[in-house]
Each structure stands twice: as C-alpha cells, then as structure tokens.
C-alpha cells in the first residue's frame, strides 16, 4: 500500500468501526444484552474481520485480490447451490462447475485475458451446463434445473469477478491507483446497506416489497441512500471522478445495490430460506453480505469504461504465454 490516499480510506473505515464498537459497548452497558444488541455486536465484530481480510488481500497485490475473490465466489456459489434443490442428475455438472468453470474463470480474469473473461461464462459455461445435465439423462424439470445452476454461476462467479477486474481498467492519469476504485465500490455499496438498514429501522413505514424483504422500506432507501451518496461524494478525492460524477456514481451504486439485494432476496425466498447460510455471525451467509455488490460491480465497471472511453484492448488478446503454451501442446 504505497498509495497514501488508500491509507486514508482504510483509516477512515477503522475510525468508523472504532466508533461503532464504542457505541455498541455503551448501548450494551446501558440496556444489557438484548437480542438486537447482541446481533449488533456480532455484526460490528464481523465487520472488523471482513475489513481485515479485505485489506490484507489488497496488500497482497493482484494475486491476493483475485485469490480472495475466487474464494468468496466459491463460498457464495456453495451457499447458492446448497439451498437450490439439485437432484442426482446434476452432481457431475456441479462437479465441473466447482472444480473447473470457477477456477478457470478467475484464471482468465487474473491473466488478464479480457476477451475470454467476458465470454467464458455467458457463452461456454452457459452451453456446457445443460449439455452435461442432459448427458446424465434426467429430464425431470430440466429447464428449471439448468436455470438454477446457470443463475448461480452467473451471479456468484461472473458478476462477482467484475470487482477484482476493476484493477485492470485503464483510466488515463489514474494508472496504478485502481485499488482505490475497488475500495470505493465496496465501501459505498456496503455503507449504503448499513445506512438503509439503520434509516429503515428509524423511519421505515412503507415497505417496498414486503413479501420479498420485510426490512427494505422506501424511507430507508431514500434517507439511507442519500446518506450513502453523500459519503460516496465526499470520497471523490480518492477516485478519478469530479465530485459531481462521484455523486452520480454513488447514487448508481446505491440503486444497483438495493435492487441486487432485492433480487437475491427474492431468489432466496423462492428457495424457502431466510438466510443464505450461517458463515458470518450476525449477518447470515456470505451471500447475504455480497448480494448488493453482485449487481453493483459489473454496472460500475462498465459505466466507468463508457465514461472514460477506455477500452481494454491490451488485455483483450489472449496472453502470449497462454498462446505459446497451446502451440507447444499442439506441437506447431
């Protein structure tokens, strides 16, 4: 972390967490260990750990970041598939998904081979999954089963992998500083979640979609979203944006995060569950924390690319070493 601005961002988050820890301590000292406060303490503790792991991955450079997101992707997909009823006929398909499609995708991303990164899942995997399931010979609810696995792969692997891919986005005059962009998108989206939750608890009246997510209210979205947008705007100095653009980007992240959470919550409920898992105490599963980022990540990536008119030409080609390896193998 040679970038002083990145250190300021980390310091800011540590400051917020210190305040949150202190406030939780005071509240628990005042009114004892009520279930809500115990949950709050669990959540704050989990935030410390998530922050620690996230920052360590950044400190390890590109390999660290891509490894970290590959692991997150694995954990998220594992939660997704655990909840989806997949019968015997899908066992082999899922073996390929977990042990080949996922690692190769992150390999293409880290290489970077942008062309393959873009199509590996939406083209190759999308075609391969139903082929392998059809070969297993089970036609019972075939379309639904394929769709479930494809959805899991699309959201948990493809969408999520756009976050580390931000490191490769060439922005004129911002070279070598992209880690802050990753920090920005994670920070604004997660703060937006927290703010929407807090403002929803305080002022929430009108539920947006009570059947899908009882905790999402219009007031929470408006006030919480506004607060998160303000925080995002105030961080413009760490981004390649002007304050106005930072505000627009933050507002977009808030909206994408909100709808990401809403959609993943609908998926979760359609599978008959309240939480994705029990991996993070106080939060539920890994996917319960990532759901908003899934939708915010790809959108953020491409909107920035349009805004700066950047193209990924250099990373589009197959990397030379991969080309050489294949030639060697074919014996050309």
């Amino acid at each position: 972390m040679k970038d002083p601005e990145l250190l300021y961002l980390v310091g800011g988050v540590v400051g917020i967490l210190l305040i949150a820890t202190l406030v939780t301590k005071i509240l628990i000292g005042k009114s004892g260990e009520t279930p809500t406060l115990v949950n709050l303490r669990q959540r704050v503790n989990a935030w410390w750990w998530m922050m620690l792991v996230f920052c360590s991955s950044l400190a390890l450079g590109r390999t660290g970041v891509f490894g970290f997101y590959a692991l997150l992707s694995f954990l998220a997909l594992r939660e997704f598939i655990t909840l989806s009823p997949t019968p015997r006929g899908d066992h082999r398909t899922l073996t390929w998904v977990f042990f080949l499609i996922l690692p190769l995708h992150f390999l293409f991303a880290a290489a970077p081979w942008y062309g393959m990164f873009l199509i590996w899942i939406p083209v190759y995997s999308f075609a391969f999954i139903p082929i392998r399931s059809a070969l297993a010979g089970d036609t019972e609810r075939f379309l639904e089963r394929s769709a479930r696995i494809q959805w899991g792969v699309m959201t948990c692997i493809y969408f999520l992998s756009y976050l580390p891919m931000l490191l490769y986005l060439p922005i004129p005059g911002y070279e070598g500083q992209n880690a802050k962009l990753l920090f920005f998108v994670v920070l604004v989206t997660q703060i937006s979640d927290v703010m929407q939750y807090v403002f929803g608890k305080l002022f929430g009246k009108t539920k947006v979609a009570p059947k899908v997510s009882p905790s999402k209210t219009r007031e929470g979205l408006l006030y919480g979203g506004a607060a998160a947008t303000l925080i995002g705007t105030s961080l413009w100095w760490a981004t390649p944006f002007t304050p106005a653009v930072a505000a627009g980007m933050s507002a977009m992240l808030v909206a994408a995060g909100f709808f990401g959470g809403l959609v993943m919550s609908a998926v979760k409920r359609s599978l008959g569950a309240k939480d994705w898992g029990r991996g993070i105490p106080g939060h539920g599963g890994v996917l319960d924390r990532l759901d908003s980022l899934l939708f915010a990540g790809p959108l953020f990536f491409h909107v920035i690319a349009y805004y700066f008119g950047t193209n990924m030409y250099d990373a589009y080609k197959q990397p030379q070493w991969m080309y050489d390896a294949m030639r060697l193998w074919i014996g050309h």
Partner: protein, 212 residues
C-alpha cells in the same frame, strides 16, 4: 495426528460444526442416524469433540472396508470401526450383535445406522431391529439420535467426487429406551421419529417442485 487433521478437513469440506463438550458421566453412548452417504459416519465422528472421538467406533460393513489396503488401514487405525459382515454365511459365524455388545462393554461409544443401507433418495427408510437389541441388552447406554443433512447431495451413492456443499449434523437429546409393553416395532418407529424430528422439516431434499 492423522485423525485430528482428517476430522478438521471433513468439517472444513462439509461445513459441519464441532459439537460442544459432552458431559463426562461414565455412560456409553450409541449415536444413531439416517444413512445416505459414505460420508455419514465420518461426519459424525468429525463433529465429536476430540476426546470422545478417541473411543467412538463406527459400525460399518466389513465387505466394503476390507476391500483395499487403504480402507483396511483407515478402518482399523483411524476409525477403529466395528466391522459387521453383510454376507449371510459370515453373519452366522461372526455374530454381528455380539461384536457390538463386546465393543460397548470395552467402553466404546458406537455410531450405527439402523436403516442398514444407504437410501438412494435421501428419504429415511424403516429401522432394522439391531438398535432395539442393543437398547434392551445394554439398557444403561444413552441412545443419541443424529440427523445428517445434505450429505446425500455432497456424496451420493455411486459418485466418487464429493461436491463442496454445506452439510449439518444435528445431535438430539437421548432417546428413552424401550418401555414396558412397547413392541419392537413401536420402539423402532419412535427412534426413527426422533431422527426425523431433528430435521425440522428439512428432511428429504425437497422434490424439485417444492423448492420453487
């Protein structure tokens, strides 16, 4: 050492959690569970606290575990399995029930699967009489029901490679042994219900239509 590492690996791969401490009351325990995967006893074994694991012995099929050197080594040195033949001729000469009682008398806890064989669908089949024999012949042992969730999806019958999905092992309160006048059938039904009860309705991997 190998045992600790293996137990840790199994918990890591399946997401099964380590059980809290088990009271030291000098009583023997028989863990009985639904059976759907080769992972079943390994998972119960891995979920037990280290000390208990040392004297807990799974009851397993001799034909399977005697087949290759690796299996033989695992079953004798790591799991200390009580190997029970399924073959009728061998069953007569080796007295499976006697082997289990002997193990209990030698201060071992047992892991048994009263269904006998794994189910293909993940449903819980009827219980075989073995558990009733154990409970009547050694009435002072504690019968602990265990429900194993999702293991049939992690490693179904006939598959070699496990999927990295999340599973659970849920341990229940001891089941009261057979009471005066209770028929063998009723007791076995009650034992089966105790396992089903732990599943909180998650029992059968819901047929595809229920999930959506």
């Amino acid at each position: 050492m190998t045992g600790i590492a293996l137990a840790f690996l199994v918990r890591l791969a399946t997401g099964v959690r380590l059980l809290g401490d088990i009271p030291e009351d000098g009583k023997r325990r028989i863990y009985f569970a639904n059976h759907s995967s080769h992972l079943d006893f390994v998972v119960i074994w891995a979920a037990l606290p280290g000390r208990q694991r040392a004297w807990t012995r799974p009851v397993a099929a001799a034909e399977y575990w005697e087949k290759t050197p690796l299996r033989r080594w695992l079953s004798t040195h790591i799991f200390k399995a009580v190997l029970i033949p399924r073959d009728l001729a061998r069953m007569r000469s080796e007295d499976p029930l006697g082997k289990m009682l002997e193990a209990i008398d030698a201060r071992a806890d047992l892991i048994v699967f009263p269904e006998g064989t794994r189910s293909d669908t993940g449903e819980v089949g009827p219980f075989k009489p073995g558990l009733h024999h154990l409970a009547t012949k050694r009435p002072e042992t504690l019968l602990i029901p265990v429900f194993l969730e999702n293991l049939s999806r992690i490693l179904p019958k006939g598959e070699a490679l496990p999927l990295p999905l999340m599973g659970q092992a849920m341990f229940g309160d001891p089941l009261p042994g057979p009471v005066e006048g209770e028929s063998k059938h009723d007791f076995l039904e009650r034992a089966r219900d105790a396992v089903m009860h732990l599943s909180h309705g998650h029992l059968i991997p819901s047929p595809p239509d229920e999930g959506s």
